[in-house]
C-alpha cells in the first residue's frame, strides 16, 4: 500500500539519477557513499569499540557464536529480500520457517525418515507455502502485506493445531553436531551455508535471465509485462524462493537448538520480522522493489548481530537490546534518506 503509493514516486527519481549518473568525478566519492562501504566501516568501528570495552568480545567462542547467529539472521534477511524485490513484503517468513522446521522434526521423529529426507521435506514445505502466498497475491491483485498477514496467522495456527505446541527433540545427533562444529575455532558450517546461499543469490540476480526478470518486474511491473516478462509467474517464484530460504533459516535454527520448537520465532513468527527487515533495509535493498544488494543484506545482518552481541557483553541488559535495535533501524533509514538527498543534490548542481 505504502510502497506502491507515495514512496515509489518519491524515491525513484533519486534512485534513477544515482544509477544513471556517469562514473565521472563523483565516481570515487559515490563508492564511499554506498551502503556496503558504510556498513563495513560501521562493523569495523563497532568491532573495535566492543573489543576495547569488553575483553570477551574477540574470544574465539564469542566470535563463533556471533557469526553463527549472523548466519541465521542473514538467511532470514535473504528470505525477506527476495520478496522485497517485487515491491512487496512477506510477513509470513517466521510462520513459514517454523512450519518447515516442525515438518522436518515430524518427518524424522514420527515417520522415521533419515535426516536428509527430513530436510528436503522441510524445504519443500517452505517453498509450497511461499507458492500459496505468491499465488494468492498475484491472483487477487491485492498488496502482499495484507495477504501475508492473513497467511501468517493461518500457517502458524495450523502448525500449532497439528503439533499441539509440542517440540520434536529426537533428532539425529548429526543435526546438533552440525550446529556445534567449528572450523579453525571460529567458522561455523552454518556461516558457510549462509555464504553459499548469498553467492547463489548473487549469481541468480547477476547472471540468469530469471533473476533479471525478477528485478525488472519488481522495478516496473507494467513495463516488464510489455517487454515479455510473465510478471505473475515471476512474482510467484519470488515468493517460493522466500519460503525456501525461510525453511533454510529455520533448519539452521533447528540445528543450533538441537530440536524443532514451535515457539522458536515467537508468537506467529513475529520475532523474525525485525531481523528480516533490518538486514535488507540496512543493506540498501529498495522497499519499492527492483533493486537488491545481497552483500549489503549480509553486512547489515552481521552488523545487527554484532551490535546485539556487543550490547549483551556490555551488560546493557537484554531487555534494552530490542529498543536499541529499533533505534538502529530508525537511524539507518534516516541516514539513507540523507545520503540519497545528498547524492541527488550533487547530481543537480
Amino acid at each position: 500500500m505504502q510502497g506502491r503509493g507515495t514512496s515509489t514516486t518519491r524515491v525513484e527519481p533519486d534512485e534513477v539519477l544515482v544509477r544513471a549518473s556517469p562514473t565521472g568525478s563523483a565516481g570515487g566519492l559515490r563508492f564511499y557513499l554506498t551502503n556496503e562501504f558504510g556498513l563495513l566501516v560501521l562493523i569495523l568501528l563497532f568491532g573495535a569499540v566492543f573489543a576495547v570495552l569488553s575483553g570477551g568480545f574477540l574470544s574465539t567462542f564469542n566470535q563463533f557464536t556471533l557469526w553463527r547467529t549472523a548466519a541465521v539472521n542473514t538467511v532470514i534477511g535473504f528470505a525477506m529480500m527476495t520478496v522485497i524485490v517485487t515491491g512487496g513484503l512477506n510477513l509470513a517468513v517466521g510462520a513459514i520457517g517454523v512450519c518447515a522446521a516442525m515438518m522436518c522434526g515430524w518427518m524424522i521423529q514420527a515417520l522415521g525418515v533419515p535426516g536428509p529426507v527430513g530436510i528436503v521435506g522441510a524445504l519443500a514445505l517452505g517453498a509450497t507455502l511461499g507458492f500459496v502466498n505468491g499465488w494468492v497475491v498475484v491472483k487477487s491483485g491485492l498488496h502482499s502485506f495484507i495477504i501475508t498477514l492473513a497467511t501468517m496467522s493461518i500457517f502458524f495456527g495450523v502448525m500449532v493445531y497439528l503439533t499441539h505446541g509440542e517440540s520434536f527433540r529426537n533428532l539425529p545427533p548429526s543435526f546438533a553436531e552440525f550446529g556445534r562444529t567449528r572450523y579453525f575455532g571460529v567458522v561455523s558450517p552454518m556461516l558457510i551455508v549462509a555464504l553459499v546461499a548469498g553467492l547463489l543469490l548473487i549469481g541468480l540476480y547477476r547472471f540468469t535471465a530469471l533473476g533479471r526478470e525478477m528485478l525488472s518486474a519488481g522495478a516496473k511491473p507494467e513495463a516488464a509485462e510489455l517487454s515479455g516478462v510473465r510478471v505473475g509467474r515471476v512474482f510467484i517464484l519470488c515468493h517460493m524462493l522466500s519460503g525456501l530460504l525461510a525453511g533454510v533459516a529455520a533448519l539452521l535454527l533447528v540445528m543450533r537448538n538441537g530440536a524443532a520448537i514451535p515457539s522458536m520465532a515467537g508468537q506467529l513468527g513475529q520475532d523474525w520480522l525485525l531481523p528480516a527487515f533490518l538486514g535488507p533495509v540496512l543493506g540498501g535493498t529498495l522497499l519499492s522493489g527492483g533493486r537488491v544488494s545481497v552483500v549489503g543484506t549480509f553486512l547489515g545482518s552481521a552488523l545487527v548481530t554484532m551490535l546485539t552481541s556487543g550490547l549483551l557483553l556490555l551488560r546493557i541488559g537484554e531487555f534494552w537490546v530490542q529498543a536499541c535495535l529499533g533505534l538502529v533501524l530508525l537511524l539507518a533509514v534516516l541516514i539513507d534518506v540523507a545520503r540519497k538527498r545528498y547524492l541527488a543534490h550533487r547530481r543537480m548542481v
Binding site: Q2, I154, V281
Partner: protein
C-alpha cells in the same frame, strides 16, 4: 425496493447480515450462546477490541499502516499500572498520563513518517521494537500487581443487565470517532489525504499535520485499550498488546476499509469486531481447539479482502457502463 438496494451497497450491510446470521445460527445450535453471562463476555471482548481496531482503522483511513499499535498499547498499559503501584498516583491521574504517553508515541511515529517520507511500515516496525523494548526494559517481563480496587471494579463490574462499565468509554469513542470522520474538518482531511494525497495537498490541506494527527489519535486509542485491559485483567501485564496486530487489521478490513486509504466505516468496523468476537466465542462453545482461532482470523481477513476487491471491481465495471 430501491431504498433496500441502496442500503445493501453500504459498508455495514454485509457485516450486519453476517452478524445477525451468525447469532441466529449459533444461538439455535447452542442456546447457552445467548445467555446473559455469554453476552456479557462478548461485550467485554467488544469493549477493548473495538478500540484496538479503531487505532488501526484511523491509520488505514490516512492510507498507511501502524505495526506499533500493540507496542504503544502495552507501553501505556504498564505505564498506567506502574505509576499507580510505584509512584502511588491516583487512578484518573495515571490514566491521563498513560494516554499522554500513547498520544506522544503515536505523534512521534507520525512526525517521523511525515518529515522523512519513509514508508510507515518501516518507521512503525522500528518504533514497535523501541516501544516494546522500553516496556520490557522497565518491567523486566514482570507484571505490576498493585492495581487499586476501584480500577479493578471498573474493569469487571456491570452497569445494568449484561452491560459492563467497560463498554462506556468504548461507546463514547465510537460516537466521537464517527463525528470526527463525518462531521469535523480534521476527519475529512484524514480521509482526503488517504484517498489522494496529492489532490489533498493541492486543495490546501496540510498533509504532514493530518498524518501526525491521525497517528496521535491512533496512539491515544491504543493507550486507552491498554488501560482498559489493565482494569479488566487486574494486573499490569507486560505482554498486553503482543497479539493485537492481526485483530487490528482483521476488523477494519471485514468492515470494508480500503487498505490504500480514504475509505473506512466506523459502524462496519464495530460489526467486524463483533463478528470476530462471535466466531471466537463459538469456537469455544463448540469445544474446537482454541489454536484454530488464529486460522479462522487469517481466513476471515482473506475472505474479507476478497469480497472488498470483488465489490471494487463491480463498482468500477458499473461506473464504466454509465
Amino acid at each position: 425496493m430501491q431504498v433496500v438496494m441502496r442500503q445493501m451497497q453500504t459498508d455495514w450491510f454485509g457485516p450486519l447480515a453476517v452478524t445477525v446470521l451468525a447469532v441466529a445460527i449459533i444461538g439455535t445450535a447452542a442456546p447457552p450462546f445467548l445467555s446473559t453471562l455469554n453476552v456479557q463476555v462478548l461485550l467485554f471482548a467488544l469493549a477493548t477490541n473495538t478500540l484496538i481496531a479503531f487505532s488501526q482503522m484511523i491509520i488505514i483511513a490516512v492510507g498507511q499502516m501502524n505495526l506499533s499499535v500493540g507496542a504503544i498499547g502495552g507501553l501505556s498499559a504498564i505505564a498506567f499500572a506502574g505509576m499507580m503501584q510505584v509512584w502511588g498516583l491516583p487512578a484518573p491521574f495515571a490514566a491521563v498520563l498513560a494516554l499522554g504517553i500513547g498520544i506522544a508515541a503515536g505523534a512521534l511515529n507520525g512526525i517521523f513518517i511525515a518529515r522523512t517520507g519513509i514508508s510507515a511500515f518501516v518507521i512503525t516496525l522500528a518504533s514497535l521494537s523501541v516501544f516494546k523494548g522500553i516496556n520490557s526494559g522497565i518491567t523486566r517481563a514482570q507484571p505490576f500487581y498493585g492495581i487499586p480496587e476501584t480500577v479493578k471494579a471498573f474493569g469487571n463490574n456491570v452497569m445494568i443487565g449484561p452491560l459492563p462499565w467497560l463498554i462506556l468509554p468504548t461507546v463514547l469513542v465510537i460516537l466521537g470517532l464517527w463525528f470526527l470522520l463525518n462531521r469535523m474538518p480534521l476527519g475529512r482531511a484524514i480521509l482526503a489525504v488517504g484517498g489522494n494525497t496529492h489532490a489533498a495537498e493541492l486543495s490546501g490541506i496540510s498533509v504532514s499535520f493530518t498524518v501526525v494527527a491521525a497517528h496521535a489519535i491512533s496512539g491515544c486509542l491504543a493507550a486507552l485499550a491498554g488501560i482498559m485491559l489493565v482494569a479488566r485483567l487486574q494486573i499490569g501485564q507486560p505482554s498486553i498488546g503482543d497479539d493485537w496486530l492481526i485483530l487490528s487489521f482483521a476488523a477494519p478490513v471485514i468492515g470494508g476499509a480500503v487498505l490504500s486509504g480514504g475509505h473506512v466505516s466506523v459502524a462496519a468496523t464495530v460489526l467486524g469486531v463483533a463478528i470476530v468476537a462471535i466466531i471466537t466465542q463459538a469456537l469455544v462453545l463448540f469445544h474446537i481447539d482454541p489454536y484454530l482461532v488464529q486460522v479462522v482470523l487469517g481466513a476471515m481477513i482473506l475472505w474479507a479482502v476478497g469480497v472488498n476487491r470483488w465489490r471494487e471491481l463491480r463498482i468500477a465495471k458499473s461506473a464504466k457502463r454509465i
